[in-house]
C-alpha cells in the first residue's frame, strides 16, 4: 500500500474512533430519535404563509422539549422546501424528491405537508407505499385527495396503492369552501359572476365547486377561464370580462388561485379596467388570504374578500388563543391564518406518538403511527374539539370570510 495513503487512512480511523467515543459520552440516556419532516413551498410568495406554519410547528415541539413518551424518544424536526427558484413556487420534481427521501429515511415517522394540493397528489402514493408513512397536511383543500369524486371514479383510490388510508388534513376541504363561497357571493347581492382559476389542482378544484354551487343557487356564471399564471398582465382578459355580461361587467369575479400564481397582478388589471372592488366584487379562497397578496397589489386590494377554513384568530378556543399568545411572544404579530393549522398538525403527530407508546406499541413503526392518527377522536386542540373521519378529513367545517381594510385582512363573518 502506498505510504501516504496508509497514513491518511490511519488518521481517519483514529479520528472516527475518537468521535465515536465522544458521541457516546455526550448522550448517556441514548434516547431513540424519531424524525418528523415538513414539506412546504419556501421559495416564492407562499413563504409568507409557510414560514408561519414552520414557526408554529417548531413552537409546538419546543413546548414538549423535543421529547416524547417520557423522554424515551427525542424528536427531530426538519423543514423541507418543496419549491424551486426555477418555478418560483412548488415544484413537482422537488416534491417527488422530498417524498422519496422521506420514504427512504426509516427514522422519519410523520410527513407534515403539503401546502399545495397538486403537490399532495404526487407524494401521497409514494408515502402510502412506504409503511405507510403518515402524511398530515395543514393546508391542502382539494376534495379529491380524500373524497371520491363521482365524475372521476377511481382517481382518489389511485392515490392509495396499499388501500390503507395514510393521508389526513386538519383543514376543511374545498367542497365546503367552494360551496360556502358561492353562497357568500350571492349574499353580497351578486347575480352574475365570472370565474377564473390558475389551472392547478387546488385553484381549479375550488373554482369548479364554486361554479356548480353558484348555478344551483340561481346565480348566472358568465364564464369560467383558466389564466396563464406567469403572464405580464391581464388587461385583455379583463377588457373581455368587462363586457361579458351583455355588454356590462359581471357583479362579481371569483378567483380560484394561490398567491404565487400572479394573483396580485390579476387584481391590479381588474381594478384598472373595471374599477374598485365595491363596483365589481372580487372574492377568492384561502390561497390569496395572505399579507403577501395585499403587499403585491397595494391600495387596489381594498375590499377584496377571501375565505379561510376555521374561525378568526381571536375566536379560537382557549388552547388556540394560548397558541396565538405564545406565537406572538416568540415571533411577533401573527396575521397569517395557517400558522394555527401548522401547530395542530404537529400536535396530531405528537399525540399519535404518545398514543402508540401508551398502548405499548413501538413509535418507530410507521404503520402504528398512521393508525394512531386515524384513531384520533374528540381531540381537544388549538382549533377546538374535533375528530378525523375515515377519509382523514376533519369534522370542523367552519369557514370565515375576511375583507381587506386599510391594507390588512379583517374577519367579516363565519359560515358553515
Amino acid at each position: 500500500m502506498n505510504k501516504r495513503l496508509f497514513a491518511l487512512l490511519s488518521v481517519l480511523v483514529l479520528a472516527s474512533l475518537m468521535l465515536a467515543a465522544c458521541g457516546g459520552g455526550a448522550a448517556p440516556a441514548a434516547a431513540t430519535a424519531l424524525k418528523i419532516v415538513s414539506s412546504l413551498p419556501m421559495t416564492g410568495s407562499s413563504l409568507t404563509q409557510t414560514q408561519t406554519i414552520v414557526n408554529a410547528m417548531q413552537l409546538r415541539l419546543e413546548q414538549v422539549k423535543n421529547s416524547a413518551c417520557g423522554g424515551k424518544y427525542v424528536i427531530e424536526y426538519e423543514a423541507w422546501d418543496d419549491a424551486s427558484a426555477a418555478l418560483g413556487k412548488w415544484d413537482p420534481a422537488v416534491e417527488t424528491e422530498n417524498a422519496n427521501k422521506a420514504a427512504a429515511d426509516k427514522a422519519i415517522i410523520a410527513y407534515l405537508g403539503t401546502f399545495n394540493s397538486g403537490a399532495a397528489k404526487l407524494s401521497i402514493p409514494i408515502l402510502n407505499a412506504s409503511g405507510p408513512l403518515t402524511m398530515i397536511s395543514p393546508a391542502n383543500t382539494n376534495p379529491g385527495l380524500t373524497k371520491a369524486d363521482k365524475d372521476l371514479p377511481g382517481v382518489t383510490d389511485s392515490y392509495y396503492p396499499t388501500k390503507v388510508r395514510s393521508y389526513s388534513r386538519v383543514v376543511a376541504a374545498d367542497d365546503i369552501q367552494g360551496k360556502v363561497a358561492a353562497n357568500f357571493v350571492k349574499s353580497l347581492g351578486a347575480k352574475t359572476v365570472y370565474i377564473l382559476d390558475d389551472q392547478e389542482l387546488y385553484g381549479k378544484g375550488v373554482a369548479d365547486v364554486f361554479e356548480a354551487t353558484a348555478k344551483e343557487i340561481g346565480m348566472t356564471v358568465v364564464g369560467h377561464e383558466g389564466i396563464d399564471p406567469k403572464a405580464a398582465d391581464y388587461k385583455a382578459l379583463m377588457t373581455k370580462i368587462s363586457t361579458s355580461n351583455g355588454g356590462k361587467a359581471p357583479d362579481a369575479i371569483y378567483v380560484g388561485m394561490v398567491v404565487d400564481n400572479n394573483a396580485s397582478q390579476l387584481l391590479k388589471d381588474k381594478v384598472a379596467i373595471m374599477g374598485d372592488n365595491e363596483t365589481v366584487k372580487y372574492v377568492g379562497p384561502d390561497g390569496i388570504q395572505t399579507q403577501a397578496f395585499i403587499d403585491g397589489a397595494g391600495d387596489v386590494s381594498a375590499g377584496v374578500y377571501a375565505s379561510v377554513a376555521g374561525v378568526a384568530l381571536d375566536k379560537l378556543p382557549p388552547a388556540g388563543l394560548q397558541f396565538v399568545k405564545d406565537y406572538e411572544a416568540k415571533y411577533g404579530k401573527l396575521t397569517e391564518p395557517y400558522a394555527v393549522y401548522g401547530y395542530e398538525t404537529m400536535n396530531i403527530a405528537l399525540k399519535a406518538i404518545e398514543d402508540v407508546c401508551a398502548a405499548g406499541g413501538n413509535p418507530t413503526d410507521r404503520a402504528a403511527i398512521n393508525s394512531a392518527v386515524f384513531a384520533i377522536k374528540d381531540f381537544g386542540g388549538a382549533l377546538g374539539t374535533w375528530s378525523f373521519d375515515a377519509n382523514g378529513d376533519t369534522t370542523l367545517t367552519d369557514m370565515t370570510f375576511y375583507q381587506v381594510k386599510d391594507g390588512a385582512y379583517v374577519p367579516v363573518g363565519t359560515f358553515k
Binding site: 413563504l47 427558484a85 418560483g88 403577501a292 397589489a297
Partner: protein, 371 residues
Amino acid sequence: METTRKKFNWRRFLIAALVLYIVLLIGPIVGLDIPVIYAAVKANPLQLVQFLIIGISNGAIIAIIALGYTMVYGIIELINFAHGDVYMIGVFTSLTVLSVTGTLESKDPVRIVFGLILALIVAVVFCAILNATIERLAYRRLRNAPRLAPLISAIGMSFIIENIGLMWAAQAWLVPSFGTTGGASQKVFPDMLGILFTSMGWNVNLLASSGIALRLTIKDVLVIVLAVILMTALYLFVQRTRLGKAMRATAQNRDAAKMLGIDIDWVITATFLIGGGLAGAAGLMAGLYNNTAWWFMGFRAGLQSFTAAVLGGIGNIAGGMLGGFLIGLLASFSDGYLNARWTNALVFATLVLILLFRPTGLLGEQTGQKA
C-alpha cells in the same frame, strides 16, 4: 427540373393540409369558434381596437427586451438567458430610484417628471453595466469553448440574478412599500403616470372626453412612444455609426473583423451595454405599465422575448421588433376572443408553425454568412 419542383410543392401541401386538419380538429376546444368570434367582434367592434392597443403596448415591451437577445445572438451566437433577469433588475432599480428620491410620495408634477427621467437614466446605466459585467465574468472566457458551455453559464447567471432580485425585494429600508412579507411576493410599482396625470387635473384615459368607448391611457402612449424612439435610435446607431458598422462586421466574421483592426472585445462589450440599457428602459416601462415588481418577472419576459426574437429571425434587429409586436398582439387577441387558458399554447404553436415553414424566422436570420 419541372418534376422536382412539383414534388417539393406536394410535400409542402401535405404539411399544410395536416396543420389545417389539426387546427380544425382542436380549434373548437381552444375556443376557435369562428361564428362566435365573428359575433363578438360585430357586437363590439371597438373592443377589437382595444385589444389592439393592449397588444401593441405589451408587444412594445417584449420587443425592446427581444432586441437584447437578438443583438447578442447576432454577434456571438449566444442565447443570453440572463437577459430577462437584467430586465427584472431594471424594474427594481427604477423603483428604488423613485423611492429614494421621494418621488413615490410626491404629488408635485415637476418632481414626478424629474424623478421618472432620473429613474430611466439610472436604470439604463445600471443595467447596461450589469449586462456588460455578466459578459466579462461569465461569457468572455468561454467565447471559444463549445457552445453548450456559455449557454449553461448563462442559465447560471440567470439564477444568480433572480436570487439577487429575491433579496432586493426584501429590503424594505430601500422601498418601504416592500413591506415585511419578504422578497418572494409581488411588490407594488406605484402608478406614477396616473398620479402625475391626476395631479395635473387630466384624465388618465386620453379618450375619456372624446365620447369614444375606448381606453387609451397615458401608460399605453408612453410605452409605445418610448419603444418607437428606442428602436429607431438603435436602428440608426447600428446602420449609421462607426461602432454600429464594427458590430455588423463582427457579426459577419469575427476573425476578419479582427484582422481589419476592430477591437472585438470592445464591440462585444458595447453590444452587451446597449442590450442591457434597453432592458433597463424596458424595466421602467413595464413597471409603469403593469405596476408590478417581482423577482420572477424576468423569466417569463425572457421566454417571450426570446420567442419573439426567434419568430422574427434571430440576430435580425427589425425581426426582433416585429416578433415582439406579433406576440403581444397574439396574446391579447387570444385572451380576448379565445380562452385565456390557451394563450401560451397558441403563442408557442405559432412559433412552431413559423419555424416549420420558415426555419429562419419571419425576416430571416442575420448572424453573418458563415453559418
